[in-house]
């Protein structure tokens, strides 16, 4: 119930609409964003069973263009971005020279020489600065497009049907992690089949001046099948159930992709050198032979909720730390992601608990994700 100085916060193009819907707003990375509109649990369930509508305009868009756009991104990021086909997207990361993760990203290849890089709001400036710095010597331009886009996501099993009613674009031909330019409800949009919920869904990048019109059209088309507006609170529990990492929690500059169990995003076989290669090669060996800690899932046997920063314990010793925790609406129990010592990381390891304000509550070690949708 703190009264933050909301005047200093950035507002999205949908701000007035959120307020008219009675949203509870929250400061997220300097943006005034909807936390929830009503019950966050109901919003979560709507996305799992029907559809949810999200304003994600805080995400940081950066455009990279030019004859050497692919070479620049192959150098600056850990993935093989040059191999991404036009109209496809890739989950990747940007690392420091020492291998520490600066951010996780989705990169869309819009054309042969044009990419859209989407960074977390909290890291957008860091990513932008790093890309500009790393572009030296490449025939490519890095452009700050944070103000050029509003981003609206429609997520959930009903989302394809809702979107189909508003566009002629070939959604059946649009695979997971693909994106194509099109028109939705008369509004020009980059239509991407991506998301952060563990459900089928779409992310629509549009000009900010079209955001309200698109939001209203999606609401009208989706309400009959149960679409509801959803805030960042349920986005967090949805991604947690789906075992997806969140920067600042599971991913930090102190960790390499290998430490986070995401070494698969690092492509040593790609052409050319890339920032962090030497350190990441060492991190790969370390993670294979002698991992310091391993990211695991924890499921509570009781009802008390583990929170980020709580200690994971076994035999009275601290063996790890919770990075994200929440009551899981789908499992009906508290869940958490945590880094734990390798010796205690196998699913089913006995005697693991979480120190919840002094009381050691029993937890089951499970493999991630907690939830996987039926296809």
């Amino acid at each position: 119930m703190s009264s933050t100085d909301s005047a200093a916060l950035r507002r999205t193009a949908l701000d007035a609409l959120h307020r008219s819907l009675g949203a509870t707003m929250t400061d997220f990375a300097g943006w005034d964003m909807p936390l929830r509109y009503g019950s966050e649990r109901d919003e979560h369930v709507a996305v799992r069973t029907r559809a949810g509508l999200f304003d994600l305009s805080h995400m940081g868009e950066i455009t990279v263009t030019g004859p050497q756009a692919a070479e620049l991104l192959n150098h600056a990021l850990v993935g093989d971005i040059a191999s991404v086909g036009v109209g496809r997207a890739r989950y990747t990361m940007i690392c420091r020279e020492d291998g520490g993760i600066l951010d996780d990203l989705i990169v869309y290849r819009l054309a042969g020489t044009e990419y859209l890089v989407v960074a977390n709001a909290s890291n957008a400036q860091v990513v932008l600065d790093a890309l500009v710095e790393r572009s030296a010597g490449f025939d490519a331009e890095v452009r700050d497009d944070r103000d050029a886009y509003a981003l609206i996501a429609v997520q959930g099993p009903e989302s394809p049907g809702i979107l189909k009613s508003l566009t002629d674009a070939d959604l059946d031909g649009l695979k997971y992690y693909a994106g194509l330019p099109g028109t939705v409800a008369g509004v020009p949009a980059l239509i991407a089949r991506t998301g952060y919920t563990g459900e089928d869904g779409f992310e629509l990048f549009v000009k900010p001046e079209h955001a309200v019109e698109l939001w209203q059209a999606l609401t009208e088309a989706g309400s009959p099948v149960g679409l509801v507006p959803c805030g960042l609170s349920c986005r967090d529990t949805l991604r947690l159930e789906a075992g997806m990492p969140l920067y600042g929690h599971e991913l930090t500059t102190e960790l390499t992709p290998f430490d986070a169990g995401l070494g698969r995003v690092v492509k040593f076989g790609k052409e050319g050198d890339f920032v962090g290669r030497a350190a990441l090669a060492e991190a790969a060996v370390r993670a294979e032979q002698n991992p310091p800690r391993v990211l695991v899932g924890l499921v509570a046997e009781g009802r008390r909720v583990p929170r980020a920063g709580y200690s994971v314990v076994a035999g009275g010793e601290v063996i790890g730390e919770v990075t994200s925790g929440a009551p899981s609406p789908t499992l009906g129990k508290p869940i958490a992601m945590a880094y734990v010592d390798a010796a205690h990381s196998a699913p089913g390891t006995a005697g693991v608990g979480v120190d919840i304000r002094g009381s050691h509550e029993p937890y089951e070690v499970v493999s991630l994700p907690f939830y996987k949708r039926q296809k």
Binding site: M1, S3, T24, L35, R36, S39, E40, R41, S233, T237, R303, R304, V305, R307, A326, P327, P334, R357
Partner: protein
Amino acid sequence: MSNPQQLRYSKEHEWLTAAEDGVATVGITEHAANALGDVVFVQLPAVGDTVTAGDSCGELESTKSVSDLYAPVTGEVTAVNEDVVEDPSLVNSAPFEGGWLFKVRVTDEPGDLLSADEYTAFTAG
């Protein structure tokens, strides 16, 4: 939202009924419930415990956070709401009724409890 006139309120967002045979019922306000979001776990004091005005006597877990439950008055706990322990969402759906938390035999109360109008003004700020 409107705060029932017949109740008194603490600045920690608890409400309190007028004592009947010395026993008052305690809950958290709708304002507090809305700020917490969906309540998923409630830890209440035990029957027979002595609670002290202004001190933590339990906790409320919501999706995003855990918050202390403060005793608005001093006294002995005579009953706890087992329904709300079983179904914490009652705190959200009926904060002033089915979502009550515990009953306390009041032995002392602080001088700064608020009337409904004072609490409404307090939370408007």
